[in-house]
Amino acid sequence: MTEEPMRGNRRSFRHLPQNSTNSDVGPPAYQRGWSANIPSCNAQLFGKINLPVSAEIRCVVALAITCVWDSEVVLRGFSRNSFHDLKGCFAKHMTAQEVRLCGLLLQEHFGEVVERIGTHLLRGGAQNLRTIANETNTPLDLVKKSLCVLVQHGACEFGSGRRGPGSPVEYRASCERVLRVLRYPRYIYTAKTLYGDTGELIVEEVLQRGHMTMSNTVKTVADRLTHNMEEGRSMEYSEVVSAFSKLVETHFLQRCPPVAEMGTAATSTTPATPSTPAAPASTSPPTAESNPDCYKLPHVTLIGRGKRRRSSDDSEEQRGGKKAKMDSESCGDEGIYWLVNFERFHQHFRDQAIISAVASKLDQTSSEIVRTMLRMSEVTTTQTAAYTQPLSANEIFRSLPPNYSISRPILDQYLSLLVDDPMEFVGKSGDSGGGMYVVNLQRALANLARATLESVVQERFGSRSARIFRLLLRKRHLEQKQVEDFAMIPAKEAKDMLYTLLSENLVQLQEIPKTPDHAPSRTFYLYTVNQLPTARLLLQHCYKTVANLIERRLFETKENKRLLEKSQRIEAILASLQASGAEPEQLTEVEEMITAPERQQLEALRHHINKLDSTENQVDETVFLLESYIFSTKTKRERGREGGEPGG
């Protein structure tokens, strides 16, 4: 090893040659970008092996190749042909926490059977129908039904098997898509704020059913709205249609991707790979975006009004309506199904997060400026862009909302303030047109994630530990002594805090040997914080948190099941009594069937469950932020990899 002898007080390790033979020098393997290389090496390794499809064997092999990150077991799926190479939602590695959370979500929303099938698919990768039925000991019927439900909601995809078009169909579940279920309330609420009650109901219906045709949605929503209106008024279909079209125009709803026929020529929907007529379905399955008609409304004329449901012959009219639907009313948009475009919602959430961050850091006017910039670049920015298209100050000035009339020099001052801000939300990319400005999306996300990490450390370990954490984030590598000095914390306490953070894996220890034999007395030990792995760690903690919250809620409900049932029965009795016009004495008599302590218990139970539910929603906000950050770095690395190394 060609290194200079240590001199004096040189503490930096820059003098060490970068290409040292010792693999211990430098960041540990699992931080070095190993995770970026995993898909390709996974593909290379598994591509050549024709292992039998036993889940246990797969686990063992996967563990042998991968690293165990913080005692989370990372499970891998196979990657054979390109059907299995799906990027995006069908990520190949899911952690145990993710699978557990997915299982709980599936159970809450779709029942136990779907949960069993779903978790089996998530753990085991792509499998065909018979395997699933045999390994889960479920009758074939139920397996088929569950798979239908999963495919309907987009949580599962099917494709031709490993051995080519002739082999049985294989199904693959998507962890990410199932985790979206946690975010449904947020999507619906956003639709409500943007497009009112009609928009809200449309999105809710489509989310609940997986995917629906436009005519179906319009009718159902009109019926629901009519139900809530006063007597004699009903909702016009045209209003619902206009709300629907607005949602489609702004890309919140999109068409379902057409299904590639299995075994026949792939439909020409993937622009990347030109499909030849003889090619089997080996091109990647078409995503919704690849369909050129993705956002085109079908030409249907829906004329009518919502039907009000009478409570007495409820089921009759429902069945009658359904019968009518099945029989004659084909509105001309059969086969065109719409689903919710989650990515567009995520863009919206991300913009909201950036704007509120700017508002809290600077002031309202700057946040309005950033909001204007983001609004102007909504359609021109791709989902994975690192920054928006450059906008000139003139354009921004013209597009400011009318109630924020600030003068041009003031705008320029604000823009320069934004550019100089250390959070780096806005960057300047040129001087033409009064200055070209971009919103640094990726950097904004990274800064938001960093703020989240710092806030977590602060809330869990106190502000002095947070100071140490921030210090390490900025200064990268520091020795014990330097940490004490820079953070201005007495040695003993600093040591304590560092070790607590170390035991929680928020801080890592990096060894820099001075001699080839790694003698511990002659090695530097530096503390370091890496933002990306720490963000991943916290994300897993969040998943675990939500899973724990759900389990606790289920436990609480189960504990008080008897009481809940009793209260439900009494409510039903009360409702029926009121409908049939009973006297107040009868009502109070029925109400008194629940004693006061029971009422208290019920109240406490309701309070707990509400708190747990609300917490789930709010943890999901953190989950969203961390997920967006991690996803943005993934695309950045892929872009860098593609650009830099043609070999890959």
Binding site: G111, E112, V113, Q152, F158, P168, V169, A572, S614
Partner: protein, 257 residues
Amino acid sequence: MLRKQRVSFSNNAGLKKIQNRNSGTRNKDTVIACWKQQPTHSADMAGGKGRGIAAFSFNIESLGLSRGNMPQTREGPNKLYPDVEFKPVPLKEGEDEDYMLALKQEIRGTMRLLPHNIKPLAGKGDVERYKERYQRQNMLDEEWTPDWQLFPKELMPQKKKLNVKPVGAKKKPIKVSSKEKADVLSKLDELEKKDVKSDEEKEEKKTTEEGEEEEIEGEELEEEELEEENDYIASYFEDGDDFGAGSDENMDEGATY
């Protein structure tokens, strides 16, 4: 000579002490010196002070520890619920959060009632419970037919008959006529079917498990449909067929197998 050689590896300070102490007989010296040297051997490699005292192989100071204040040793596994020093931040409150909370609970409730929610096959009790009737009323759109264009063919429920119609169409005639729910008649029908089915099963060559499951399923579906008023049901569920086998099938199914 031998001793000198060994001595050359050890610390000088240690040797002097030994020499001072063991000024007695030679024999004892060698023995004791040998014994005493061994700790110093390893002590040197352990950093120089040694002689049986706990020594670390690296520089303790660099980690900020010192002899005086070492961290406490662990006495066992961590507590299951460790003490929390800092209380968590209270939840955000506001009408946004309240609305989303209400939405979440509503979604959960509604999705339980949708046909997407697949119930495991519960063994049917011999008497239909009273509450089941009301629970069934709550189910929204009890049946759901996926659009088979978007689904692989193998997920369609298999039919023995030639015309493979989707599930929903089959159910329509049954549903329409099942507006009148006669519980007594339904019970009679089910008992009757059970008899017929048990005959069939003996003749079928399918695995008993699959047959049973489908039979129970068939019964469950029948129950969901709320039987018609006549004793002669238009469609029976054959073993091996899941849903509404041909409506034009007559009831004496014992003959076909």
